[in-house]
Amino acid sequence: MSIQYYVALAACLFCIGVAGVLTRRNAIIIFMCIELMLNAVNLMLVAFSKMSPAVAAVNSSMGAAGTDAQLFVFFIMVVAAAEVSVGLAIIVMMYRNIHSVDINFLNRLKN
């Protein structure tokens, strides 16, 4: 399968994420959109590492072509999981304080 399909899919996912972050006001939805962008990047990493011709040429004899980036992706997932827990905790604290998860209430940076 050609690499273009993967790239196109990842680009779509990323753009959906960006659009979601820009348009939605619910903090949880925005959070989900950020995860979407993250996963678009993950997808790119996996796809590129698997399909890279140079890497494939070197590693084909060992039958383990392009596993480096796939290992990175595991790390990213672990870090993302940690991040999600922290982020959700922040959102919970936010809800406790202002009884809402609408980010337009968070405008104290002004002035």
């Binding site: 820009l22 980010i103 337009n104 405008n107 104290r108 940076l109 002004k110």
Partner: protein
């Protein structure tokens, strides 16, 4: 001995600090003792140094590095040799007498100003000592600026009188013009020789091109013009009479104005190399001597007469330097310091007795009430007039003879100036001390001899004026050139070889005696009178108004400068202010608009972030085209 020299300027500096910082808490007695005592201590050290120099020659004492960049060095070093040791004695010796005199003269001042006065006076002496002691031109320049500053402070001592402040400013600005010349000369020297240390400069002097030597010496002379009040920068000195009288004595007799003479005598090696400069120095000196002597003829202010007399005598000194008789010029500095300090202090005593009156048309017949002042002043007058065997006779005759050896024309003109000196001095003496009293009845009642601290310096200076010339009488009177011998390690004595020199000397001697008798008789007749009208008409008025030089300067320099400054203030400054304020206003306005972007909405911030990233990507992809486009534009 090397480690003693720094004490000489240190004492006045300490005196300045103590009197300056604690002037409000110290009593007048303590201030007077600290002020005069510090100078006395300096004088004692100077005497020790002087005897050292007489027996074993000079030395250079390196205190610390002042400027030290790569192989370019200006050490903070003091040089003690025959010339500087002599000046040390004059400055500290006469300086001490003036300090002593001041303790009594300034006694009516409030304690705070009394302390300020002595602090300035000590600082002045300190600067002058630095000027004389420095072993290179840079240290000399520090002292040079120091005396300029102190003269400003002292001339404007009574700062509540605005005219005095103007006089102080005038002195400062005039001096500054001269200082610029001095500074340029130093830079020129540093550029050509890479050193400003005297010994090195004089060793290398031969390697300078004639043009360089002439330029450097002329620039140094410009400095001397400012400090020593020569044409065209002399007008500050008569105005400097605004200061207290002892200050006038200090500035015009022992210190400041002799700085120019000292500097040229010190640089005699350079000056001897340039004939043009020597001619300029001689001509300017002689012109100054004659011009200021003519002005002094019709002045009615006792201090103004003495001031123009000082300018005139300085002209004589420069004449001596210009004709190559460096030792004679220095000799005249010394004798002039004696009799001019004496006369200024005597004038102070008169002013003191007259209750602040300075107009000589309102004096007269003071000899009965002020015997000590009168007779010491008379000695001063005789000395400056060149009465045989006084100090002024010795030095002035020597200048005239040296001038004759150089050029007979200059000699006759100088004799004319000397004759004028006699006339105005006898006029002053007769008007003040003889004839009838012309002041108010109250003043007459108030007349009294000054207290001891004022008369003792007068008597000491009178003795010095009388016998000070004995160290170097003309040879034909059995004199021996002790002074020239003493200075010979630093300043080579010139040998004037003219035929029948004794004829000239005898003619001069005879002429002096005849002139003295005639002038005395005439002055007795015209000026020792009961009533004296101090208003003049015709050419006399021109002289009394100082040739209108001040008005001339005012018209050709001060007024145009003021007009230019006015134009710059109203025209150019508004324009520049517009640019500066406009920039500020633009930034202020645009930031007020930009500030609206910061709405506090998280969404908008994110939007800006995304948009910026997109823009950056576009720029990155198309950077080739963008660079090409920019190159095409510029």
């Amino acid at each position: 001995m090397d480690n003693l020299v720094y004490l000489v300027p240190l004492f006045p500096l300490l005196g300045f600090l103590i009197n300056g910082l604690f002037r409000k808490s110290l009593s007048k007695g303590a201030i007077g003792i600290i002020g005069s005592g510090s100078i006395l201590l300096s004088f004692i050290v100077s005497v020790v140094l002087f005897s050292e120099v007489r027996s074993g020659g000079g030395f250079v004492s390196n205190l610390f590095d002042f400027i030290n960049v790569a192989d370019f060095q200006i050490p903070f070093a003091f040089q003690v040799d025959a010339l500087s040791a002599l000046f040390l004695l004059i400055i500290t010796g006469i300086g001490f007498l003036i300090h002593l005199y001041s303790t009594s003269y300034m006694h009516d001042e409030p304690a705070e100003h009394f302390g300020r006065y002595f602090a300035y006076l000590n600082l002045f002496v300190f600067s002058m000592l630095l000027l004389v002691l420095g072993a290179n031109y840079v240290i000399m320049f520090i002292g040079w600026e120091g005396v300029g500053l102190c003269s400003y402070l002292l001339i404007g001592f009574w700062f509540k009188n605005n005219n005095y402040n103007y006089a102080a400013k005038k002195a400062f600005v005039m001096n500054r013009i001269g200082d610029l010349g001095f500074l340029l000369a130093i830079f020129w020297l540093l550029n050509k020789l890479g050193t400003a240390t005297y010994s090195e400069v004089f060793d290398l002097a031969d390697t300078l091109s004639p043009g360089d030597v002439t330029a450097i010496t002329l620039l140094f002379f410009v400095g001397a013009m400012g400090k020593s009040a020569q044409i065209p920068l002399y007008t500050w000195l008569p105005d400097a009479m605004a200061g207290p009288t002892p200050v006038s004595a200090l500035i015009h007799a022992a210190t400041m104005v002799t700085a120019g003479i000292y500097m040229i005598a010190r640089s005699n090696v350079l000056y001897s190399l340039s004939e043009l400069t020597q001619t300029v120095v001689a001509v300017v000196g002689l012109a100054t001597a004659i011009l200021s002597a003519t002005i002094a003829l019709y002045q009615n202010d006792i201090k103004k007469v003495l001031a123009y007399s000082t300018v005139s005598q300085l002209g004589f000194m420069f004449l001596a330097l210009g004709v190559g008789a460096y030792t004679t010029g220095v000799f005249h500095v010394m004798t002039h310091a004696f009799f001019k300090a004496l006369m200024f202090l005597g004038a102070g005593s008169v002013i003191h007795a007259m209750g602040g009156e300075q107009d000589i048309t309102k004096m007269g017949g003071l000899s009965k009430k002020l015997p000590v002042t009168t007779w010491t002043f008379v000695i001063g007058v005789l000395a400056i007039a060149g009465f045989p065997f006084t100090s002024g006779f010795a030095s002035k005759d020597e200048i005239l003879i040296a001038t004759y050896a150089h050029s007979p024309v200059l000699f006759y003109l100088a004799c004319f100036a000397a004759l004028l000196t006699m006339i105005y001095m006898f006029r002053l003496m007769m008007l003040v001390f003889f004839g009838g009293f012309r002041g108010t009845h109250e003043q007459e009642h108030h007349l009294h001899e000054s207290p001891r601290p004022m008369t003792i310096p007068l008597v000491i200076l009178a003795i010095l004026s009388l016998v000070g010339g004995a160290i170097q009488f003309p040879e034909m009177f059995g004199g021996h050139p002790f002074f020239n011998e003493y200075l010979s390690p630093v300043v080579p004595a010139e040998a004037h070889e003219i035929e029948n020199i004794h004829t000239v000397e005898w003619a001069l001697f005879g002429g002096t005696v005849v002139a003295l008798i005639v002038v005395y008789a005439a002055a007795r007749k015209f000026f020792a009178v009961k009533a004296f009208d101090g208003t003049y008409t015709g050419i006399k008025k021109v002289l009394a108004d100082k040739w209108y030089i001040d008005e001339l300067y005012d018209a050709i320099i001060v007024k145009p400068l003021n007009a230019l400054a006015g134009f710059l203030k109203s025209g150019i400054e508004k324009f520049i202010d517009g640019i500066v304020n406009g920039t500020g206003r633009f930034v202020n306005y645009s930031s007020r608009q930009l500030r609206l972007l910061q709405s506090g909405q998280v969404g908008s911030y994110v939007l800006f972030m995304v948009l910026s990233i997109v823009v950056l990507f576009i720029v990155f992809w198309h950077q080739q085209e963008i660079v090409g486009f920019l190159q095409k534009i510029f």
